[in-house]
């Protein structure tokens, strides 16, 4: 087993427009990228558990040419609205760090 923060060299979150968060997992080797992609661990159900949100709101994409995984999901409050506490969406990445990959 290896933790995601040992396999990915960038684990980041950001707004994708004011109504969406997007999470990027980026890898420096095809080996690490394929290990994570082919593990089947990155699923909507995992995201639902890690982020306490319904599974069907998460869009998960694998970008083979860039060795990158992207996960996008709608915000509960738009950026800067009364209930929002992360205007740029830059600090929503932490639950990904400890994902265990076989």
């Amino acid at each position: 087993m290896a933790r995601m923060d040992e396999l990915a060299y960038i684990i980041r979150s950001k707004n994708a427009g004011p109504f969406w968060f997007t999470l990027d997992l980026l890898f420096q080797s095809e080996e690490n990228y394929l290990r994570v992609k082919n593990s089947g661990v990155i699923t909507k159900d995992l995201m639902a558990k890690l982020y306490n949100r319904p599974a069907d709101i998460f869009d998960i994409y694998f970008f083979d040419n860039a060795w990158g995984i992207k996960i996008s999901y709608p915000r509960t409050d738009s950026a800067g609205d009364f209930g929002d506490t992360d205007c740029y969406g830059a600090q929503q990445h932490a639950p990904l760090l400890g994902i265990e990959i076989p």
Partner: protein, 453 residues
Amino acid sequence: MEMTLYAATGNLGYGFPEIALENALKCNPAFLGSDAGSCDPGPSCLGTGQGFTSRGAVKRDLRLLVKAGAEKNIPVLIGSAGGSGSDAAVDGLIEILHEILQEEGLRRRVFKIYAEQSHEYLKKKLAEGKIVPLEGARDLTEAEIDASAHVVAAMGPEPFQEAIRQGADIIIAGRATDASIYAAIPLMQGFDPGLVWHASKIIECGAAMAVPKSSDSMLAHIHDDYFILDPPNPEKKVPAANAAAHTMYECPHPYLIHEPSGIIDAGECTFEQITERTVKVMGSKLRPAPYSVKLEGVESLGFRTIAIGGTHDPELISHIDEHIERVKGFLHDRVKNVYPDLADGGYKVKFVVYGKNAVMGISETDDSVGHELGIVIDVISDTQDHADSILSMARTLLMHSNYPNRKCIAGSIAWLFSPSDISVGEVFRFNLNHDILLDDPLEPFRIVEDKEV
């Protein structure tokens, strides 16, 4: 055929080294471009017309570009002026430009492109069925248009192209898609749209994909069937993996990116390391889609006042949620005494608890709590006076209300500042998540030559 595109910096005012501009000029770029805005800082820029960068820093960056543009006689293109690209923000940047032209003794033809949309125009397009909701949004209503304080449309490259045709040396544009600033001139010259749009999308953050990371310039050399990413600062390198990764940045999809005239498809691209510092990109496509521009709008939430404090009391920390609910109840009673009209629906209050769940909110799954907690009280009401007044009640109640086993009866909160209460001013929320379908890409935008220079 070859054309060189120059992006000065990720955001006008973030800065770039002079050596980067000097080296870039040796490559004979077709123009000098910079993005000057973003909706990342939230709805306040569009609501207030204020930017999020320092005026002095913006003037420094713009001065270098204006002088270099005059020296080489190439256009300077600035998009999303002043943070939001509102009309007030365009006028604010024009004022800075006037100072620069006067101080440098330069005469240039300056064009302004306004992107703000009237309620009347939006209602007309709504009635024509030309305003469509984006994913997750509902159909727009006239009431939502009426509630908007400011609405901008993000222009494509066509308004820039029209200003260039009319003889612009310098363009100060309102809200524009970041890539449109860089795509305008190469598309006019007939370069491949897929390559032009993809290159423009990658360089719109300046040298963000280069290492070592700092605010800096980026060049893209567009050829017939590929483009090269080339940082003009000799100390910077672009790793191929970073160029690929940057394609994914800030977009909901990793390789399909919506632009006004189509969808950039980078799914089949290759990113090849040519030298240690440069990357060759091939295979970018532009997929056709109906011409549309995105709307960004804000409505007022009222006026905000905040206070920042913290607690180190273990009893309060272990019962913080129930105590906050108790204080909210006391506050409601207190507001009812003083402002009966505001008690129900006339104010909003929240207590943001740092050290517990402030950053992740509903998505927090870690139930551990710090040995001290930071608390921000946030009050919004219809006037600054009401927000100030209700915040002061909330502050006193949080400070002095009892909770079980409370021993620190002189006060439960360490307030950070004196005065403790900070009046923030009018605040806004984004209220539109819609596109307008257009037959004429110029229709919502006003291109005006600035005759005052």
